[in-house]
Subunit: 342 residues, 2 copies
């Protein structure tokens, strides 16, 4: 399949994606912002939350499942608390608004929370974290998602594989950006095993009845296993409480699936906690961070060929490489995005 | 060994532990507070962080490893940011001070962060979360710990099995309290397998060289595996950044082991982020929380004999049972605590 990929300059790809959103009825500023979030995700090596979402978002706009002209309502409940009703906006438009609110309040009082209700798929989390870090701010963020996993010990899906991201700026080099969903392995890896006729490792998934399985077909018919068992399942619930329940939005089974109901508002929720790391630690924040990250990367590796990295380092290396040398993606996807530009 | 346990009233046990701390030179208020944190941990079913720590803390006080008369310095860096230098205080004394600061600031502006540097073993996290929830506040807290785990892909320990706790109040019943360390399994479970001559499950641990193992002896000589591989390892680092680096304290390899160096200040750090959940969501917070938790507990269970629970529910049931019916602990431990009271 490698022959079917093309490499295109980042700016060009971003412009094509933005044009596609504009052609679908998205105002130009929102179109550019949405394209940029997805493009940065793609370049960081998160293609499942990258350019493939451009045609998907546009298909949902066409079905009335996303509101291109949202009237977002921002309610400051306290000096460091904001709630945003996103009016079914494009997820990145809602997410960037939440990020901006959280950063602005955190600059005033040191730390702040912004929660977004009635939103859509927010895209990859790492690009939001990267923006905060480039502003010198730490960020904790998360989103709920449509129901795919059972709570621990359960035999029916009641919660999403809700991702959590924790990021701290490193003024001297790549930032610390941990961006993780709650399953041991991504669904895409199980789909690949099915295609290749391979078994999946123990611990990745359970059958529809909750029994462990190494059969990818039974796994796809069943549920992804949460990392650490009850721990990952509990974290998925904690993220939903912060992202869904607290801002007054939908949670758990009330989140509609945009795959099954592409024309319905999914009612997704997100949260952003921004923290002024440098004001907190003071002038030696930068050297301390450098010291911390060097202790990690200087750890003797288990495999001498694979140096130890910290979260976000490989993603930011990929991003820098893609900004310089172009973004490689399936040729058919590029053509689809180009075609959507009208 | 069950014959060697005794059951004692919670109040009596708390008073005995407090008397032991007073006899070791701890001021009476601090002694009562420290005893209470450990007692609540014991009653919640976390005996590794419960009464067994009373003689351990006192042994370290005797060796000069804990300061019974700390001059804690509190520095409000912003309306919602505080840093506390705990002056090597007893961990629960420092931790409760941090909790109080975070709660007070969060009541003013909605959310607040307190970080504690130069502290000791903070005890179990769940009792702090329980106090916040009883005050109607959500709490995210964590602590760093002495070095026991490698970063992902590493073959040498560089970080602690740093626990994270996320709690949200449930006004109508047991609160949501997720309290988790980052390893797949606790070290105690591997020690038990060794005693019983049993193999441990795949995925619990790696050897000293980083290779997977099911041999409990090789596991104890090696390292606990982090849940979700790079995810759990990354979370342990994120907790250390929030608990150690941000408050200006020690992190990673700078945390001294209180087992190997019981007379040295371990320089442990903790963080508390308090959030005014009810001010954020408004008057329907309680019903929404009830709804959320009922969706979880109403999930069809994989094993009909084991209903689905949410994080914190079994712990708070155990706590209520122990408050009513007494605390069961090893007879030898009770005698040791009694003896330490002078």
């Amino acid at each position: 399949m490698a022959a079917d990929t093309v490499t295109v300059a980042a700016d060009e790809l971003g412009a094509l994606a933005a044009a596609a959103f504009v052609h679908a009825g998205v105002p130009e500023g929102d179109a550019r912002e949405t394209a940029e979030v997805l493009l940065v995700g793609e370049m960081m090596g998160i293609p499942t939350h990258g350019m493939i979402r451009v045609p998907e978002y546009i298909r949902r706009i066409g079905l009335g499942g996303i509101n291109c002209s949202p009237q977002m309502r921002i309610d400051r409940r306290a000096p460091a608390l904001a709630v945003i009703d996103a009016d079914n906006a494009l997820g990145p438009v809602a997410g960037l608004r939440g990020l901006a609110e959280a950063l602005e309040m955190a600059r005033q009082v040191g730390i702040a929370y912004a929660g977004i209700a009635e939103s859509n798929h927010v895209g990859p989390l790492a690009p939001y974290a990267l923006r905060a870090c480039e502003d010198g701010m730490a960020l904790i963020l998360g989103t709920n998602a449509s129901v795919t996993m059972p709570p621990w010990g359960g035999a029916a899906a009641r919660m999403g594989n809700n991702p959590l991201c924790i990021a701290l700026p490193n003024p001297g080099g790549p930032h610390f950006i941990l961006d993780m969903a709650m399953s041991v392995a991504a669904r895409g890896k199980i789909r690949r095993a099915l295609k290749e006729g391979a078994a999946i490792p123990e611990g990745w998934a359970v059958t529809r009845d909750g029994a462990p399985t190494t059969d990818p077909a039974a796994a796809l018919d069943g549920f992804l296993a949460p990392m650490g068992g009850h721990k990952g399942a509990g974290l998925a619930q904690a993220v939903d409480l912060l992202a869904g329940l607290l801002p007054g939005g939908a949670f758990l089974t009330a989140i509609s699936s945009w795959i099954e109901n592409p024309g319905a508002p999914p009612r997704t929720g997100h949260f952003f906690i921004a923290l002024d790391a440098m004001r907190l630690r003071g002038p030696d924040y930068g050297p301390a961070m450098q010291d911390f990250l060097e202790i990690i990367t200087a750890t003797p590796p288990a495999d001498p060929a694979r140096p130890v990295l910290y979260p976000g380092l490989p993603e930011q290396r990929r991003l820098a490489a893609a900004r310089a040398g172009g973004v490689t993606l399936p040729a058919a996807l590029l053509e689809e995005i180009r075609g959507l530009g009208g």
